[in-house]
Symmetry: C2
Subunit: 137 residues, 2 copies
Amino acid sequence: MVQSLGNHLIIELYECHRDVINNAQMVEEKLKEAVRVSGANMVQSVIHEFNPHGISGVIVIEESHFSVHTWPEYGYCALDIFTCGDEIDYHSALQYLKSEFQAQSMSVTELKRGMLDLPVKLLHKPESRGIPAAACA
Amino acid sequence: MVQSLGNHLIIELYECHRDVINNAQMVEEKLKEAVRVSGANMVQSVIHEFNPHGISGVIVIEESHFSVHTWPEYGYCALDIFTCGDEIDYHSALQYLKSEFQAQSMSVTELKRGMLDLPVKLLHKPESRGIPAAACA
């Protein structure tokens, strides 16, 4: 049966609060909290602050990654939430970040990654609750 | 005029060499080399190895990020190359990784991120050669 290995939300956040999305500490804290809200398991966080403005933040999770790149001068954030497994609440994470960045509008594209015709059900499907998240990678 | 802030290649690599994409050191070395080939500037690399198999690798660059998530058991890699600026040779980076991972087939979707109607030309457009890459974030 055709199944997908990963789920990728590609999010455009517009008219965000410019001070929030230009503050590396705040962006990292909110990204970490979004990971927590989603139920994912953080592996490592990387935050980079640009001069004169702009933040890049990436959190590698056991279920893939969250990334955000901000352009405070335009009030814009490019947010990606890439997860595997059916147990990650990525929609709650998305709503949390939209609210925290005070985005006035957004667009979301949901892509299925790794659509493969597999003979068996994937290990990380719901019936495998209890299997470590890492099993999905 | 409508311009995009970022360029995002969403790449599916199929039938890769399973030993290569299950070797964290090799995946990280090849991802770093792909960044170098593209002309991007590495900020930090994160690599995570899953048990029993699978690698996640993310490199934050001054021009956004490269990420790869591998499923060696299926010979599949989900590769993302997110860049800003017109001076990053992401197509060469893509061809390098396709070759090094020995992918037998791939699909590529190119997305423009942050399509905004801006009154002035972006700083990181070609006519601004010499401006630091960080200026694009």
